[in-house]
Symmetry: C2
Subunit: 462 residues, 2 copies
Amino acid sequence: METFFNPSSVAIVGATEKQGSLPGIILKNLLGMGFQGRIYPVNSKYRTVFGLNCFPSVLDIPDEVALAVIAIPASSVFEVLQQLAQKRIHHAIIISAGFREMGAEGMKMEEEIRQIATKHTISIIGPNCLGVLDNYTNFTTSFLSWERVSTPKKGSLSILSQSGAFAVSLLDLAAQEGLGIAKMVNYGNRIDVGESVLLPFLRDDIHTKVIAIYMESVDHGRRFVEAAKSCSKQKPIVALKVGKGAAGIAAAKSHTGAIAGNYEIYKAAFLKSGIIEANGLEEFIDGVKALSMQNPPKGNRILIVTNGGGFGVIVADYCSENGLEVPPPSPQLKGTLKGKFSTFYVVNNPVDLTGSACDKDYYTALHTCMVESDEYDAAIIIPLMAPQGMTEKVVALITDVMKQSGKPAVICTVGGVFTTKVKQLFEEREFPVYPSPERSAKAMAMLLKRRKLQEGASHASP
Amino acid sequence: METFFNPSSVAIVGATEKQGSLPGIILKNLLGMGFQGRIYPVNSKYRTVFGLNCFPSVLDIPDEVALAVIAIPASSVFEVLQQLAQKRIHHAIIISAGFREMGAEGMKMEEEIRQIATKHTISIIGPNCLGVLDNYTNFTTSFLSWERVSTPKKGSLSILSQSGAFAVSLLDLAAQEGLGIAKMVNYGNRIDVGESVLLPFLRDDIHTKVIAIYMESVDHGRRFVEAAKSCSKQKPIVALKVGKGAAGIAAAKSHTGAIAGNYEIYKAAFLKSGIIEANGLEEFIDGVKALSMQNPPKGNRILIVTNGGGFGVIVADYCSENGLEVPPPSPQLKGTLKGKFSTFYVVNNPVDLTGSACDKDYYTALHTCMVESDEYDAAIIIPLMAPQGMTEKVVALITDVMKQSGKPAVICTVGGVFTTKVKQLFEEREFPVYPSPERSAKAMAMLLKRRKLQEGASHASP
């Protein structure tokens, strides 16, 4: 599997400098990322491409080739695979579309490819896909222009996605959310390599801490559950299952030829294998962001601190809806807090620092409730940046005191330009920020779900 | 009521040039917005404030005063109200906090104010509030710095909010979402003016087309339902009810002293009065954005057009979940589309233009399905901007063809910097853009809800 992410040498079949051509963009992206392995452009029309020697076919490459990337019309893919077999290349990423998703004829071509691959033990990612991105080896087969799609920083999230568009948007969002990425794999029609082999690989990957899966269907039901079970014991897996209702199932079939199947079966499989299911794209990205940046809380007693009472009320509502407790502080803790604050601050849970709050009040409230006391397991903090007393300094104060407490926190803040700047500062320090009360409560709930899975797994072991 | 939004003259009690003082910021904001009415600073300490003559008390103002804005400590408010009575000022906005939300003593002060106001027919907004913003008369009593909170453009949305922080964040978000605002009212503890009198006023306000209400409780149950019923016949009302569960109800009580009451009763009241309820902040802003920018569809047959198959699948799922149909095109329409597109485009619903899509393909798909054919009532369009063939020109093509069709559309697009630019272009043309498939489907569902309410209302009338 490693060869797909860090090939010692790679052939780019169809490589060209022509504007807009997929293999051309792939080559350009690869060179742009600074990949260190050997690269062999393959195209009978050229002697050189982007300054590299170009070969008429893979058979003409004088050295060993570990991986071939194929991005030519579907009808020519079979012939190239025959050459790979002859050259003893055992790994191929087939970017080309035009197979099963196109109906009977495409399905026939796909079947022929499957047969030749099996016969000659060629491991395949694709077809109809973007392939891979590895932020640590700087290897990619993406054919998207990086001027359009931002590159996320190095990090601990790895993404598995049947959908290419989805994988790309997720990368773009990750870049925007300050969320670092380890690996991305998009396998499209998934003729061979799928979730069941990728999950064990990611379980053992040192850079991967959290795994996100977009799925229309899975490759092998039973093997998938086994792989996920073993993987989720070590690392959180969050899944977005699409193709749930009749309209979505039909759409999934048109899209990657996937038989999305009965949603109830998937739900049961997720439960069995310790996968956390997300409801929708936002819950998906919000959840993996929380899991990548913060640890699960030890329990479900949540403290809410805010300078916007209305937001505190909404977060409290969504905590209740999502199985989180918002217990009032004990009389003793209440007394301590009251002694430290102006009389019109509302000392309760939420702690409402009101529109008069200044940065330091957040430190005081959190130090008192989360460091000096052990009444709460985690905090949802809602610093609204509109009032005069609030400055960027609140970021360091909040993140420092939470680190002292050793307990997790998520941040909710809502607003425009200045708020966006503060959000970035929080996320640089690995505190996830959400733009709505309901999303912050759901993200905290997802951290707690992970905690419960860990407890369940440790109870189950002998 | 008009006096609160467009006073011929206004006294700012407590006005000062002192940095950080609330009445000072209010005065500065008012001058900054270019309000045309007469302004009288009131403060015994100064002769002039920001170049305006300053008076020791309202009684010393030589002219008639239509409205007094009071932002001084709670304990001094009663005395000022006595002066208003003497000066026959019949409108006051009390910004000051420190009343009912502070417990027994505050409640007593609030009751004294209520009594004097009733006796002298002084209409009051507040206390514990931000007051009003009118984007057409340029009048505001907001004490927030406009460097922190962006000002939304003139528009058709009016906001009623018990929570000040919420109102402010909504303004900031509106500015960011390209959503124009007519009026905002934040009434805090709501000693007098509340939803029941504001709704009839907004019903008749020529600038208001859509009304958004944040509510912890309502002022008068029966009067509120009557007012909302009459208002919702003409204009959509979207409500965000907070304080639903035990934790939220307790938080609401601490916040504005509101008795949030039984959520089920509110749900019944919303149903009876034609109010659309939003679940959470995002559904709230998403819904009012859709209703402000687009008309309700005639039916629930939705066409999905995308160049990202995976997103099409998710939107189809969430359409089903939210009562929207995603019917396949008729054989005839399918044939027409197939004749116009490359063979590997997926002609179905969703229409999947794949990663090879270019701008013009969106025009072709939408013209064929929405203008030439009448099989669909509305469209959810998902132009992902990563592929090479997609440029900003897609905005004009999509919005032009949808205007030709006379049918509503919402846009979903997901990504970073370039996508944000495209989003702004769409929203300048009054097409609402959402950053996730689920939110675009829910926004369309809210447009349809409005349609059903209109139909219900017209059936119910004799």
